[in-house]
Amino acid sequence: MTISSAPDEALVLAAIEQVWGSMLFATAEAWPSDRVADFETGVQAQIELRGDWNGRLVLTCDSEVATQIAGAMLGLGPEEELPELDIHDAVGEVLNVVGGSVKGALVGTCALGLPGVSETSGAPSRDDSFVVSWGDAPVYVQILPDAA
């Protein structure tokens, strides 16, 4: 992976593609910019990077997508159900592994935080996000530097 001084879309997308493929046995693809990517109730995970670059990586997806991601991680069948706590845990861990991969490709970044996960209503603005696919559903990714 290319070494950078700040995370950008290409770097984070490469990390997501790796995690989707190896942990979730799925393919991540860029979501067409002209395609609607809305949902009403979602799960949002975030993790901090501290060092030469300071900020957060944020991953937001529909609740059903979060359930599917957790099921894929654990190799569950479609009828098997997971408690919400485990679904949040799984989505946070996906972002944790993405964050670890991004951290490894950054010069000077020295600390990765612990992932935090919460419920969210609606998708983030597409102005400060890029969107990748989970099957036929959107997953929003934000690279948010701390406010100067």
Binding site: M23, L74, G100
Partner: protein, 120 residues
């Protein structure tokens, strides 16, 4: 043998356990800890033969756990299973007495490669 899996993610502890089974080590006994402090207590209480630990955990990180163990003379074989696998971390882990560092995402092959000599 008894193996302690320390990770603050319950889902990840389940995945490590599943991967150990896939790697052919499922016949061993497994115990779990949800953070570094609990892992330190479990090492004292359960006397595991191997510790597989995450690095980034609340209460006590994996490297703090390892240093605490070695600081009290406990030489239990110790390996990291963590989302970060930089050269710096590998060197820090080795210097503190870790046998290996497996970076997430991992496969059963990674566990087999690191542990077949010890676990058979």
């Amino acid at each position: 043998m008894k193996i302690l899996i320390a990770d603050d993610s319950k889902v990840m502890r389940q995945i490590v356990l599943r991967t150990m089974r896939q790697a052919g080590f499922g016949h061993h006994d497994f115990v779990e800890a949800a953070d570094g402090a609990e892992a330190l207590d479990k090492v004292a209480a359960e006397a595991p033969d191997l510790v597989l630990s995450d690095w980034n955990m609340p209460n006590k990180t994996g490297i703090e756990l390892l240093r605490a163990l070695r600081g009290t003379g406990n030489a239990v074989p110790f390996g990291f299973v963590t989302s970060e696998g930089s050269e710096d971390m590998r060197e820090t882990a080795k210097a503190a007495g870790a046998m290996f560092l497996i970076a997430k995402p991992f496969t059963a092959d990674h566990f087999e490669s690191e542990l077949s000599g010890m676990l058979g």
